[in-house]
Amino acid sequence: MSKNWYSDLPQYYQRQIKAMGLDEAGMNRRRMLKGMAGAAGVAMLGLNTRQAQAATQMTYMCWEGYNDPRIIDPFNKANDTEISFDLIVDSPGGFAKLQAGASREVDLVSSDMPWITRMGPAGLALELNPDDYKDVYADFYDQFKPPFEPLMNEGKTIGVATRWGWVGPCVNTDVTKPEVWKTYDPVFDPANKDKICVMDWGDWPILPMALHAGINPYEPLDEKQLNEVRLVLRAMFKNTRTLVGDLTQAQKGLLDGSLLGCIGAGSYLTSAVRKQGHKNIMAVVPEPKNGLKQGIIWVEATAVLKESDQPDLSQKLLKHVVSKDAAHILALLDSTCNVVTNKAVESRFTPEEKDILQMDYMWTAYDNSQMHRIAPNIDEMLAIWQEELAAAQ
């Protein structure tokens, strides 16, 4: 029996050291941090023995929902892992956190696609070999199979798409007709003053308004085009009742009819309300205007961190997250429901679940939408947003 650095310690401590994964590979900074976090967890929370004895500790930065025990527990059990979560509340914030050093502790990230793609040039994400994911992609809708250009950086795949949906007006069909929202014109109609809600979620309300102004925000913009964006935002603020950062406020307003429509959100906002039986709340996509598609398809994706000390397990977890079983759970969470990229899940959905997800409408929405990706001038547009908001007060 070989002697190692902890052989002289009592048996109890030796077991803990093994459980924390500090036994063989030595004590690098990453292991030290994870070990400390694990030890602190055990000491402070009195975690049960099974968790403390998991062979591998992993950290998963994700939106709420990806951490659902029904998704994660089977993986932990099958792989003898203990996954801790770093829940993000907005994608830029998560990206900023990774850049600030969290990339050293995080193994896997599930976030909005543009921010996953940005992880490529930022040197944060591990480039994936699509051939390693053939079995995963076999179940995918064709639209998200490789080469899926929005998730690529210089020809390399950065992540795998997981959930998706569409951005368009969210309306209550009891107080307005979906046909009225074939354009974004009602947003600017003086008759709707103080009846429009805008989701204050970074670029989400800006991009549809740019499209309405005839500007494609996913292409490089010149000063004149940016000024058009400025004007359309200025006009939008005139009719806006509230900018909300919280889904429930918008959902409540739509349900009680105090809000006619909500801009900058979409199926992400409506699906959870529909799950509760309010089928009168729906997300629609305006029709193309002068050849420019007015809707936006958002996609969430998952990537493995370059600095992960468990690259194989992380890729295994990634495959697990997009698997049929996990994707079915991910599609119908309590907080939000969304369609997933895994086509095989369709067979599991009941007609009611399909109705909740507006699956009869999803390809219409897809066909009338831009694929959300990195908007080259987004920082200028966000600055314009701040300026116009300050001017509006």
Partner: protein, 288 residues
């Protein structure tokens, strides 16, 4: 004979005693502040910090008027909150310290409960109350008032209401402590000298409770310039205040140098306002 204590910087004992505090202040306050200041001279590129020295951020801050519009609005709201809080808190604190002595423990417990209840919960509670279809309008409609009588949700008034509601206990407690510490014999002496109740209050109670008013004002002002929940939830986000601007800049724009610069500007301006107010109040006291 009084022993004069020598306090010279050459005194090693003084250094030893001051060392923990100096280390704490340096590591937890000064060092982050210096790092924040250094950060303002860097640039971002493609949402990443680019360690290149530049004055671009400060040029941006001093040339874009909207930052100052939002800062001005923030200061105005914070000052308004201070004024309203003091006006409301003083009679409550005075009553607690003088008229309701018998019940002051129960009342303090109630105020403390309001104090420790989560601000998010309370703020969203106001939304449910003030909404077009909320409890206030429902009750008023049943009393015969026109529909949607209460219609100030998502305005600055609603923001102010939320700020006052959440920050009021700070003023109540600081003023209460101040009034409670007033020597009652001074007030009785004023009565003996022929002062009316109002004159005794004006000449004795109010001046002696000034430290509490001042402490409460500073506390509320500094907390007021940092609020982001109330303007976002009750104000409808249409009149953003500096904290929200800074959050947006750090998180949504991932522009850390600009966020750091706006943070420093807010800090400096807030401290300047407090010092200015302090000086004016000091001059008035000296002149009185």
């Amino acid at each position: 004979m009084d022993m004069e204590v020598s306090r010279s910087w050459r005194d090693p004992e003084l250094w030893v005693k001051a060392l923990p505090s100096v280390v704490l202040q340096t590591t937890c306050f000064l060092a982050p502040l210096v790092m924040t200041f250094i950060l303002t001279f860097q640039k971002t590129q493609n949402f990443q910090l680019n360690w290149t020295w530049s004055l671009a951020t400060w040029t941006d801050v001093f040339t874009k008027p909207h930052y100052w519009t939002i800062l001005g609005h923030t200061l105005f709201m914070a000052v308004a909150c201070v004024v309203v809080c003091i006006i409301i808190a003083f009679p409550i604190a005075y009553g607690l310290a003088t008229r309701f002595k018998r019940l002051d423990n129960e009342i303090k417990v109630l105020i403390t409960f309001a104090f420790i209840t989560d601000a998010t919960l309370k703020t969203f509670g106001w939304v449910l109350f003030l909404d077009k279809k909320g409890a206030a309008n429902y009750l008023l409609a049943h009393l015969g008032f026109p529909a949607e009588t209460v219609a100030f949700l998502f305005t600055d008034w609603a923001t102010l209401l939320g700020m006052v509601y959440n920050l009021l206990p700070f003023a109540i407690f600081t003023i209460y402590l101040s009034i409670d510490n007033i020597d009652r014999s001074l007030i009785l002496a004023a009565y003996d000298a022929g002062a009316s109740k109002f004159r005794a209050f004006w000449e004795v109670t109010l001046p002696l409770s000034r430290p509490g008013i001042w402490a409460g004002s500073v506390l509320i002002f500094l907390l007021g310039v940092g609020v982001f929940l109330e303007p976002k939830v009750l104000g409808g986000g249409k009149s953003p205040m500096s904290a929200e601007l800074i959050r947006q800049t750090f998180e949504t724009r991932v522009n850390w140098p600009l966020g750091a610069a706006l943070t420093l500007v807010l800090m400096v301006v807030a401290i300047f306002v407090v010092l200015l107010f302090s000086r004016v109040a000091g001059m008035r006291r000296a002149g009185a």
